[in-house]
Symmetry: C2
Subunit: 218 residues, 2 copies
Amino acid sequence: MYFSESEENYIKEIYHIQSVQGMVSTNALAGALGARAASVTEMLKKLQKKKLVHYKPYKNFSLTELGNRVALEVVRKHRLWEYFLVHKLGFSWHEVHDIAEEMEHVSSRELIQRLDHYLGSPAFDPHGDPIPDKNGKLKIIKQNRLTEVPLRKWVIVNALKEQGGHMHQLLKHYDIHIGTKLKVNKKFDFDGSLEIKMDKQTPAIISGEVAKNIYCTV
Amino acid sequence: MYFSESEENYIKEIYHIQSVQGMVSTNALAGALGARAASVTEMLKKLQKKKLVHYKPYKNFSLTELGNRVALEVVRKHRLWEYFLVHKLGFSWHEVHDIAEEMEHVSSRELIQRLDHYLGSPAFDPHGDPIPDKNGKLKIIKQNRLTEVPLRKWVIVNALKEQGGHMHQLLKHYDIHIGTKLKVNKKFDFDGSLEIKMDKQTPAIISGEVAKNIYCTV
DNA sequence: AATAAAATTTAGGTTTACCTAAAAATTATA
DNA sequence: TATAATTTTTAGGTAAACCTAAATTTTATT
């Protein structure tokens, strides 16, 4: 079965929203895609006909089992390409999203199979998000917000989510990346900033804004 | 300036036909693209408005300087991806065309720059075709059809052009690939077949059909 | 429960890239 | 060189994926 680039994008975005919110609304999806609600409704009818979504007019919707499989394939492609871009071509993790957004639509299954093998079947992409395996299975690890981690316990950074801003500059400055070991010494309730301590470095203060986007294993 | 996937395909195809025939006709282009003449005319007007082609109604046309630059960029992307697919992912040369056809439309310049560097700036793709460098420069080597090469002279295979058939099976059987050293012992005018001799192998007969698609350096 | 607000869908357009069939221009042939 | 054949263009349509504005349905509020 063939899916257009647009269909794939809709499915992928439904998958993402669903994984956070359970059910998806027309407006939420429109917002995420940068499209208008009317366009979403139209596409929804198309996806329903292809048995990719459960949808009743005026109601929230979700992916069918088939829809989920398709979404996981697209996510797998996206994240494998991100891994390739960072670990083979030397891009930094914050630069690869848009490029992978294009590459994820290349259709060859054989290509992805070989790419996966070539990369050593990685389980996580450069942002720390899990890469679905060939069967759509995800290695789930708990991603705790640095803002909610117990004080004075050593933790390891396992994910960084950039919102399109320039957080990566700050992280580079502090030399915080996936794998970094650190602990939170204090929380300043006034502005939500944290004092953190890293191996062989004097303690530093990071804003709550940044800390919110750093996830770790306790 | 942005070009759609379709526009890129038209430009690339004009480039290919042009490189053989000098000027391009509506029908020839339609044939090469699997489209109808009317569609070609329509696109031609669009490409002309964007100053990519020299075009007068009812006349043959060709790429402008700008069109040529764009074509070379697309060709560069196509061939670099082919090289990647063969030398990094282990595909065989005859399997990569269609995949590269999709990958060539990924737009990031930075990506291609890094890919090129990662691959070691190769000058030829797995079919033996030259890969344009960043400035569009091609390393030209003479590609002599095996059918037209002097008898009893050692030559080296430098290109293989598969027409979509199963020639590669035959070539694999004979163990003929780019870099193979061989000489033509005899030509049989009756059916155009050739007796060839390779290092450490007893002479073999190959059909004119196959020989036509093998190119070499004398 | 009635009404206001918000969310969603429908109706009717647009653009891109195709198409067929008919008309026009060019080229080849008698 | 007139006419036939071929090539190319024009005219008019279709499908996908978007849009705005208006209508409808659902949800929230008084």
